[in-house]
């Protein structure tokens, strides 16, 4: 799997027309052909493709993604690592938010199927699916940032952040994070509550639910102890599957809110054609997804005693 990930990341970059050396030369038109050849040799670009790939693979096996092409020439791994915490924080927060909101909506609308609440949440779900996240970001910026002026609309901290007390600094971060987290969670809330609902509806029809009712358990015990626990199993898998979407979505909200995270870094690297950085980001993005899937599998095994690792 990891080999496949590195192969695709590598090929994506190398099927593109134009070589990085051309780009460097563009920036400095006085570069002679010899200088260009030297550059190509320096980055190993004069070798055949499969040799380049193996060379790159050997490097990243020890987590060395090479140096960025950007003027600062820093290590790709360092650049990514310093951007990662913000993105992971926002994504974890929005996942928690998704869970906290979608779970009650999904459960209630399945328990009270065809009620007013169910209809209301169905409408919400369809709107949530169709709502472009960047448009939501724009509207929220307009409402809270411009019209009401309650929340900051860009960056991660205020200009006087460093002079604040620890408490005020935390509050400052929180204020800057509210809108991005809301935006990144919005689509997920719709999808997740829909999923919880249909999963619950399926479970409620099972025989063991009838048995639980027949033996005289209260309705809430049936729902929360017997139904919900079984209904949550597929939901856990969905959480793992939603990781690539969340990471990909971070490009959008980090660019809009100018948050210095991985999404923004990826955007910048793609715009400046920073090949080592792009390849590194693709690999790390995919690895994060793998980690998400593994975490989902582990929690699945914890929630379901029938599944045991042999």
């Amino acid at each position: 799997m990891l080999i496949g990930i590195t192969m695709i990341s590598f090929l994506v970059i190398h099927i593109a027309p134009g070589s990085p050396a051309d780009l460097l030369v563009q920036m400095n038109p006085k570069a002679s052909p010899e200088a260009k050849a030297r550059l190509r040799a320096y980055y190993g670009l004069d070798k055949p493709l499969h040799i380049q790939y193996l060379y790159w693979l050997k490097q990243i096996a020890v987590f060395d993604f090479g140096s960025s092409f950007s003027p600062d020439g820093r290590k790709v791994a360092d650049k990514i690592l310093e951007r990662m915490p913000v993105t992971v924080l926002i994504n974890v927060l929005s996942m928690l938010l998704i869970f906290a909101i979608a779970l009650p909506i999904g459960v209630l609308s399945s328990v009270y199927q065809r009620s007013l609440l169910d209809k209301f949440s169905t409408v919400f779900v369809f709107l949530g699916f169709a709502w472009p996240s960047f448009w939501l970001a724009l509207l929220l910026m307009m409402l809270f940032g411009v019209t009401l002026g309650w929340l900051p609309i860009s960056g991660l901290k205020a200009y006087n952040h460093d002079s604040l007390s620890f408490y005020a600094q935390t509050l400052d971060y929180a204020k800057h994070l509210i809108l991005p987290v809301l935006v990144s969670a919005f689509g997920g809330i719709a999808g997740m509550s829909r999923y919880v609902r249909s999963s619950m509806l399926e479970v409620i029809r099972q025989d063991y639910i009838r048995t639980a009712r027949a033996k005289g358990l209260t309705e809430s015990a049936v729902m929360y102890r017997h139904a919900l626990r079984n209904a949550l199993l597929p939901v856990i898998t969905l959480l793992g599957l939603s990781v690539p979407g969340l990471i990909g979505g971070s490009v959008i909200f980090e660019t809009i809110f100018s948050i210095p995270g991985m999404g923004q870094l990826f955007w910048q690297s793609a715009m400046s054609r920073d090949y080592p950085l792009i390849m590194g980001m693709l690999v790390i993005g995919a690895i994060l997804t793998l980690i998400g899937n593994i975490l989902a599998d582990i929690s699945y095994a914890m929630a379901d005693p029938r599944i045991r690792v042999r």
Partner: protein, 279 residues
Amino acid sequence: MLKTYSEFWYRFKKDKLAVAGSIIVICLFVLSFIAPLVAPYDPNAIDARHVLTPPGTAHLFGTDDLGRDVFSRILFGARISLKVGFFSVGISVLIGIMIGALAGYYGTWVDTIIMRFVDTMLCFPTFFLIIALIALFEPSIWIIMIVIGATNWMGVARLVRAEILSLKQREFILAARAAGASDLRIIFSHILPNALAPVLVYATLGVAAAILIESSLSFLGIGVQPPTPSWGNILTVGKDNIEIAWWLSLFPGLAILITVLGYNLLGEGIRDSLDPRLR
């Protein structure tokens, strides 16, 4: 599953949301075909005297920073999103059917390698892949359609493969093979027609997804390039003028919302009518 088309129509017509979705989609088709006739202005006509005019009788949805009529631009933007939606879904469905059929029909090591590849592709944040590919080429509407198609075929491939696996051992396939039909003939005229319904559902929902992706890309500035109007790049202007011109941010977004909603409702409607158990 599905006995007759009349049964399908019967259920589909009773589903109010599905009917609403198809009305939206039909209206969009008609609007984008007659856009040049109904648009009150040339979508690219610059009018320096009426820059950033709020909505009013002269300009229904106001004007943008170059004095262009937003209503006309949104009408013409409908053409772009329709084109991108259908072409990119067409590409992804074609790739998906070919790869899925290959994996499902031939099985064994072909299947293993292909499905591994599919799993690996699914690991990548799609948006990362799309941005990387588009940034490396010159952004144009064709590149966008190809890239969106090339990064979204995995679902169709899985669908087609599963369908083929379940049909492969059925008697009518064995009969066809006994009658001497070639592999290609079996795949295309005996198996695929049976897999058409789920692919159709997937494709309808895929059009909605492709339109969303295209508008995000255009919003970020690597999609449809101005001056060609697209809902996404009108919103970019909206972001630049967020403090003075709310109409630039509101109307194109509404257009995207309604369009995507229409395709989603239609897709879900088709699915529910094909298989009422899923409701």
